[in-house]
Assembly symmetry: C2
Homo-oligomer: 437 residues x 2
């Protein structure tokens, strides 16, 4: 039987509302989720690594996780930079000569200082000097954008509003645990006239929430929430968080702040005339910052798209099926190629040709036909479902005769017969249709 009859959704990872599960259950959920991410090449093995991933920090990703994050960043970039031609991409430095925070020092230099036969006072002085000279690593992308405000202002002929977009690595100062971490951040810094900043904050909150929901299987798990007054950052007059409800609790994916212009003024040493815009009042613009954590974004979409289904087979046998129903645009592997019965050498040749064709068309393809371990069709489908592979194609001796292949869909589990020459167009159209919804 090719199709899978879903009896009932036993535990849908993406809707935690219904499940008033005990903490132990939730821990088990988390554990099995992490295991799947490791087994299916999203996250590299290792306990420390899983721990980083789970905390919403950068971890070492496997090939599928790498591609998923690439897709996510690409979509983010496309969505913010296409906004009316008023958003410009920038790329600023990670290291700077700032005064505080995390510094990069060379071990050897410190050792040299410590090895010298000097007095305690001289030692302290030399280390302080070394620290001062050492570059700082960035902890956010905001500062870079504020610094780029003046040259960008020329670019837009001093006209508001406009935005500067950037994605990149940021470091996080060590917490109590004493261990620094890194995060892949996205940042849009929006400069607008003071009287419109609150409206822009609302605008961007709507836009960003819409964006997250667009790729979700269960959009209601994404929500926004106003930051309570007592938690506002220094300069900010208002803040909004975009949250994702994981089965084990809500976490922040993105934060929007209405920051006023104090930081902008400080960054440019109060040189108001350089910062003024042509908005009638010659005012110094206000800043709305939108910064996201795309490592946690990866985890949110993985968690959101994981469906666990079960079906009865015979009397006692209860079969479980896990499917990673990632949005077609985000799913790393669009198609897997496999061979069935028939002359292996010829079938592999056909697969090789298809693989080349798909990869040239930028369709990420999984070379399942290179696998030498024998597995049943059922086992293979189960594996691909857990990987979130959109379609799997079976090439068999039939294909050599009449050019027909079998295409199985992840989402419907239905197998269709199709001519081999139609495959590429079918896949391209399917993905771009999903993109434009």
């Amino acid at each position: 039987m090719w199709t899978l009859r879903v009896r009932r959704v036993r535990s849908c990872f993406s809707c935690s509302r219904g499940c008033s599960s005990a903490p132990a259950d939730r821990l088990e959920l988390l554990r099995s989720f992490l295991q799947l991410c490791v087994d299916r090449y999203y996250v590299s093995p290792g306990e420390t690594n899983s721990d980083l991933f789970q905390r919403g920090l950068s971890c070492s990703y496997g090939p599928l996780g790498t591609e998923l994050r690439r897709n996510l960043l690409e979509q983010w970039w496309h969505s913010v930079t296409r906004d009316r031609g008023q958003v410009f991409g920038i790329s600023t430095l990670n290291i700077s000569q700032e005064q505080a925070g995390l510094r990069v020092v060379e071990c050897e230099h410190v050792k040299q200082i410590l090895d010298q036969q000097k007095s305690k006072e001289e030692l302290i002085q030399e280390i302080q000097l070394l620290l001062q000279r050492s570059p700082a690593v960035r902890t956010n992308l905001l500062t870079g954008a504020l610094q780029q405000f003046v040259p960008s202002l020329e670019l837009v002929n001093r006209k508001l509003p406009f935005g500067l977009a950037e994605t990149g690595l940021c470091f996080q100062p060590s917490s109590a645990s004493g261990c620094s971490a890194e995060i892949t951040q996205t940042s849009l810094v929006w400069f607008c006239s003071p009287r419109t900043s609150s409206q822009w904050l609302d605008h961007w909150t709507r836009q960003r929430l819409k964006w997250w929901k667009k790729f979700a299987l269960s959009p209601s798990d994404f929500s926004s929430s106003e930051v309570p007054e007592q938690e506002l950052e220094d300069a900010a007059s208002r803040g909004v968080r975009i949250l994702y409800r994981f089965p084990w609790g809500s976490e922040t994916l993105e934060t929007l702040w209405n920051r006023g212009n104090a930081e902008l003024l400080r960054e440019h040493k109060g040189a108001r005339s350089k910062l003024q815009c042509r908005d009638g009042q010659k005012s110094v613009p206000h800043v709305v910052s939108i910064s996201g954590n795309m490592d946690r974004g990866v985890m949110a979409f993985l968690s959101n798209s994981l469906q666990q289904l079960s079906r009865e087979e015979g009397r006692q046998k209860l079969q479980q099926r896990k499917v990673l129903k990632l949005h077609p645009v985000l799913a790393p592997v669009k198609v897997a190629l496999n061979i069935g019965r028939g002359p292996t050498v010829e079938l592999r040749q056909v697969c090789g040709g298809l693989l080349q064709e798909f990869l040239e068309a930028k369709i990420f393809t999984w070379p399942g036909y290179l696998e030498t371990v024998q597995t049943s069709a059922e086992q293979q489908s189960a594996k691909y479902d857990e990987m979130g592979v959109l379609f799997s194609v079976l090439i068999s001796e039939n294909t050599l005769e009449n050019g027909l292949v079998q295409v199985r869909s992840r989402d419907t589990t239905i197998r269709e017969t199709m001519h081999i020459s139609e495959l590429r167009n079918f896949l391209s159209r399917y993905i771009s249709a999903a993109e434009n919804i």
Copy 2:
């Protein structure tokens, strides 16, 4: 006169062979090149920044430089990962618990230690302990790939050859100048059987050189050269450099090493059985590493594509024209939209519609119609040529009547008339045709 008659190439930036120019000339060349990069939004202003750029290090990029590097990285990724489905993308951590090199320390922690009333010996001990606990930042992408070898081996069923690709930020230990720097690196680490490693090194050298030349206006400035024996890295038995001949001297863009398996064994503490592959002899694979500096790549393509032409106008007037003839795939701005004579409000509306359409089709568009400073058509073309804008479109009252627009090509300087509805297809086809050559 719309077309520009080129009289002779006075100083072609991309062919330095012919120019036996004096050092002072070369310095002037470099200075004017850097100025153009800053003026045309490739590199952010500031002397320190230009200095970083010039040294082939990461700098703060403007919107066009950001897009150019994005395009370059995208092309690199596509070119290596499509190779027969045997290359997998990975993403490893920047910070690690390695023993040497650059460390990230928190200023506050050091200050706390220095402020304590302790003996010199205790002080030294505490600082050493802090250093030990502090994470190191990576200086290359090789180590991460070697660490990911074992899980990747499972993925390919222990079959050679295969590769792991990654792009990302690396830090460079401070040289004599005492200042650390960052570089955007690309890395392909190729695992193959010992007896084929030298052939693979040749294969990848050919592939990589072909790739660089593909996007060049003057391909002969890119070359490869065997690393002399006395300059070989520790573990390596052979090395090849891919060089670019800048007008002011040759620089390395990419380096390929045949590294043997010593580092792989060291990284996995000599556990041979974990590393062995199914190639008949159960050998530990050899490593061919290919690592590139994409910041220098950006500079190479900018330098390579800059043409300086001059024409005579009347008797004495010698006009100079600089054109950044970046490859259509790399050029950041594919099209600029401008308005001519006619009702401004209506014309801007037409431009706004086109902008939206192009951006949705992922065609980077320059909103020239938003500029309020009046410039002549000549001045505008000159500016776009220096930006490397492929096409500029003029929307005028004519367009409102019959839908016709004027399209000027950067490379031919010819103006064509076209119907507005054909524009998007024309641009998409032009770019993809250039991509598939």
